[in-house]
Amino acid sequence: MKLKLNKKDVENFLKGLIEEYDLYAPAQLTEGVSVFKKIDRPEEVNLTQPVTQKPAKEAFFPQSEVMFRYEETGNRGQAVSTEQIRKERILLGARPCDIEAISIIGKVFEAEDYTDVYFAEKRKRTTIIGLGCNHPLSTCFCSSTGGGPFNRAGSDLFFTDLGEAYFVELLTEKGMAFRENKFFKEADPKDLDLMKEIENKASQKVDRTIPVEGIEKRLDLMVESPFWDRIHEKCIGCGVCTFLCPTCHCFDMTDEAVNQKGQRVRNWDSCLFPIYSLETSGHNPRPTGRERTRQRLMHKFNYYPKNFGRVACVGCGRCILYCPVQFDIREALVYASAKRGKGQKGKFK
């Protein structure tokens, strides 16, 4: 069944979603700055920015999340967990890279030994409406990391912007539940053709040449390489790349209490912060930018693949776009792949 959602119906479609679900979608905080947030009014939704600043992982793993609350601190308190969510959720307008990243985090958070209930509960009760990338940016390299601008893996429904309408695909059981949605209309065969044309055009645009293939093995031999002495030089140790990364999932847990009431909260944390690994004794196993940059890159391209069989990078390009000093992860990959002793030529000067 081929469906479409006309743009003039979008507002009412969104209204319906907001009534029935908790809707998460990209919204602009200010011109050019978008994040995924809970939507209260249809007009907040903005599906035009190719890469939002903060990734869609926030719908499942918010930057700051209360884990449990207690009425009394110290030695008598009773912790009340907050993992239960009230309503079914919709994640709308997430791009294929962000959706891929959610399953990457899922491999850690939904592991069999211990399940992160906060993430798992939200994921179980969320229907994902993916949105194809008509205009991938020059910094996008999802096709090099095993995805693509129209990769439908992980989406329950998938939208393609045809200009006047969205082409709608129902991909899973969760997606099929929307079969009867009154705003979905029968699509014409020419809509399908248009969708394919857009998909082809976009797919050709995305860089496929970033050497991700085999990177795990190459990095195995590079743990103590002089490569790390240079690559970290320009990194200033802020958390932009890790906070905006759709696959980064480190967090910190702290107690926040005022008077007798309190809560345990988790907040995103970054391996690039010196205090991330600093021990109470004063010892820091990763004392300089060299070790911290190595940790960031090795985790994505060596440690994670060792545990889960794929790289923990989806090629969204956020860390390149928003880095204050233009640390380019593609550069790191190209360098790591260059034969030893030979200077780097070609794409990255």
Binding site: M67, F68, Y70, E72, T73, G74, N75, R76, G77, A79, S81, E83, V108, F109, A111, D113, Y114, T115, D116, V117, Y118, A120, E121, V223, E224, H249, C250, F251, D252, M253, T254, D255, A257, G262, R264, R266, D269, C271, Y276, S277, L278, E279, T280, S281, H283, P285, R286, E291, R294, Q295, M298, H299, N302, Y303, Y304, K306, N307
Partner: protein, 279 residues
């Protein structure tokens, strides 16, 4: 779904200051709920996250042994926010714990072998758990000879002194205690752990070594073990790293692709050799 982040309630049964500098305090906790006690099974070397609401959580090795039923012991070094709170908490209070976490010592591999235990300072906690486990009549036959070398800076800083005295009297364990500086009452050895090890020179044949202590002690003891021909596969240590979640999610305690909280804290040197030196 069970929430692995939610602490279970324990009651502080007894608290005891261990050392003359008053920086180490042993807490004996009993389960508040019977069901929790029934489902709590651990092996020496595992740890728990102790939590005080309003202050936070911190990981501690379990100092008691599985054969001591009904309660758990932790020895806490006063250093940061949580440990200070744990030093001030009164008997009868409630403390949350999560655990047991981590892998524990490889007791299957130890079976039928001699055991050499080397400890330094307050890292002796889980070693105490291990030794007490094997000294129990039920388990004593599981390993052959037990040799323990335990050092501290000063006599007053040795942990579990009453127990050490008891062990000294037994003939099925060889206990050597040593201090860096003695005092007028100290009749035992004076000397650094690596040197004492060299002196005693236990045989490495069919022996597993467990070593826990400050990094500087480990740094100088390890070569002595190698000189005694202990293979890396039979030298074990328990690592410490900054931890938060304790279950391999929050990220910070990894060494290479392994997490100290989940895949450790006990590692063999053969394992560590293959990992980045991130500890």
């Amino acid at each position: 779904m069970k929430n692995p982040y939610l602490p279970i309630p324990m009651i502080l049964k007894k608290a005891q200051t261990e050392t003359s500098d008053r920086l180490l305090r042993t807490l004996e906790l009993s389960f508040k709920n019977k069901e929790d006690e029934k489902s709590f099974h651990f092996i020496p070397g595992q740890f728990c996250e102790l939590s005080i609401l309003g202050k936070g959580e911190a990981p501690f090795g379990i100092a008691s042994s599985p054969i001591e039923k009904g309660s758990l012991k932790f020895t806490i070094n006063k250093a940061g926010v949580v440990t200070t709170a744990l030093h001030h908490i009164e008997e009868g209070s409630e403390i949350g714990i999560r655990g047991p976490l981590g892998n524990g010592y490889p007791i299957d591999l130890f079976a039928g072998k001699d055991l050499l235990v080397i400890g330094g300072g307050f890292a002796f906690t889980t070693l105490r758990s291990l030794i007490a486990y094997y000294l129990h009549p039920e388990n004593r036959t599981k390993v052959k000879q037990i040799t323990v070398i335990y050092g501290a800076r000063m006599p007053g800083l040795l942990l579990y002194r009453d127990e050490l005295l008891e062990w000294e009297k037994r003939n099925d364990i060889k206990l050597v205690t040593t201090v860096d500086w003695g005092d007028k009452d100290w009749k035992g050895r004076v000397g650094l752990v690596p040197n004492v090890l060299e002196e005693i020179a236990p045989s490495s044949e069919n022996t597993c070594a467990v070593i826990c202590g400050p990094p500087i002690m480990i740094k100088f003891t390890f070569p002595k073990l190698v000189a005694l021909r202990f293979p890396n596969e039979r030298i074990f240590t328990s690592l410490e790293k900054r931890m938060k979640c304790g279950i391999g999610k929050c990220g910070r305690c990894n060494i290479g692709h392994l997490y100290v909280c989940k895949d450790g804290p006990v590692f063999s040197y053969a394992q560590l050799e293959k990992l980045p030196k991130d500890y």
